[in-house]
């Protein structure tokens, strides 16, 4: 019996991102148009040049936020299943990725990694930064190939949480988490890149089994 796991960046977060990107892009466009009206004079031209990077950021955020919706035109959302999403140290678990194609596509590579990620957030001045370090604990690959409409990519692997590792830790500024990172590179189409969290509790798998 396998459980479905939701991606770390959910639909509501993406929706917020798209909303923010729309407002950002709208404001950038408005100021760009105002600047271009005065483009005949020197300051207007330089003003338009100054606003262009802001517009590019807005468009970039929009593309990132809307990528899953755009991708869904030809690829169904990935379905990730695990035997358990609450794991103990040393516990093996089976992970399955299913991805259905609605149109013919060429998958250049498909990969899933079990990673231990340290995320450290800090404030410098008024800005907030997060640095991450990832350690790959296991990987699964599917070969490159063409997929016809209605065909399904299926990737399955048994991973084991290291017996002498660390459990999941979620502080306000510091986090130690386990993820299954899925990366499917599709030719001439938005790639699938999602992280699926699994929680590791501070218990040992074998110790519990012996009881």
């Amino acid at each position: 019996m396998q459980k479905s796991v939701k991606p770390a960046l959910g639909n509501s977060q993406r929706g917020c991102l798209v909303g923010f990107a729309v407002v950002w892009t709208a404001f950038s466009l408005f100021f760009l148009v105002m600047a271009l009206r005065d483009a005949g004079s020197g300051p207007g031209f330089f003003g338009a040049l100054f606003i262009l990077p802001f517009l590019a950021i807005g468009i970039g955020l929009l593309c990132f936020g809307l990528a899953p919706a755009f991708r869904a035109l030809k690829v169904s959302p990935p379905e990730v299943l695990v035997t358990s999403d609450m794991l103990r140290l040393g516990e093996p678990f089976t992970f399955t990725l299913r991805q259905e194609f609605k149109a013919p596509l060429h998958v250049e590579s498909a990969r899933a990694d079990l990673v231990l990620r340290e995320s450290a957030s800090y404030t410098r001045g008024t800005d907030r930064y997060t640095d991450t370090h990832e350690q790959i604990l296991g990987s699964a690959y599917a070969p490159a190939r063409e997929y016809r409409a209605g065909e399904r990519l299926e990737l399955s692997e048994t991973f084991t949480i290291p017996a002498n590792g660390m459990h999941t830790f979620q502080g306000k500024n510091n986090k130690i988490e386990y993820f299954i990172k899925v990366s499917i590179i599709i030719a001439k189409w938005p790639d699938v890149k999602e992280d699926y969290p699994v929680v590791v509790v501070p218990e040992r798998y074998h110790a519990l089994r012996e009881v």
Partner: protein
């Protein structure tokens, strides 16, 4: 046994339980009893509102600090007499988690913290680090 010396106050923490790891560091298992003694000696009479002994963890490394006090005991209220070492036993139960951790960006450090609450002065403080992890963990 380690000690902290401020100009007016010498604080020492001695742990009786746990497993010696070398370098004055002791290791405790989740759920194990952490027992020890705080010894405080002052150079002059000091009025002490509270002498707090805390069992707490904090993070070190790249990120802003996370901290949590798991247990806290007020072991003394009164006057610390000059030159007279005063010993205060304490006992805590080690929690289940988080375990001590040394990573690339994040370290989780457990410690016995001693805080002498002195009125109208900077509190003398001392931290005695220890390791909280199961025997089979790294």
């Amino acid at each position: 046994m380690l000690k902290s010396i401020t100009p007016d106050c010498d604080i020492r923490v001695t742990l009786r339980t746990g497993e010696e790891m070398g370098g004055g560091m002791r290791r405790f298992l989740p759920g194990e009893s952490v027992e020890g003694e705080v010894t405080v000696r002052t150079l002059k009479d000091v009025k002490c509102n509270h002498l707090w002994v805390r069992f707490a963890w904090h993070t070190e490394g790249r990120g802003d600090r996370d901290r949590s006090v798991v247990h806290e005991q007020d072991v003394y209220q009164g006057t610390l007499r000059a030159g007279e070492p005063m010993a205060f036993p304490f006992q805590f139960l080690a929690p289940r988690d988080p375990w001590s951790f040394a990573g690339v960006y994040i370290n989780i450090v457990w410690a016995i913290e001693v805080d002498v609450d002195v009125p109208w002065a900077v509190n003398p403080r001392y931290e005695h680090a220890l390791v909280l992890a199961p025997a089979w963990a790294r």
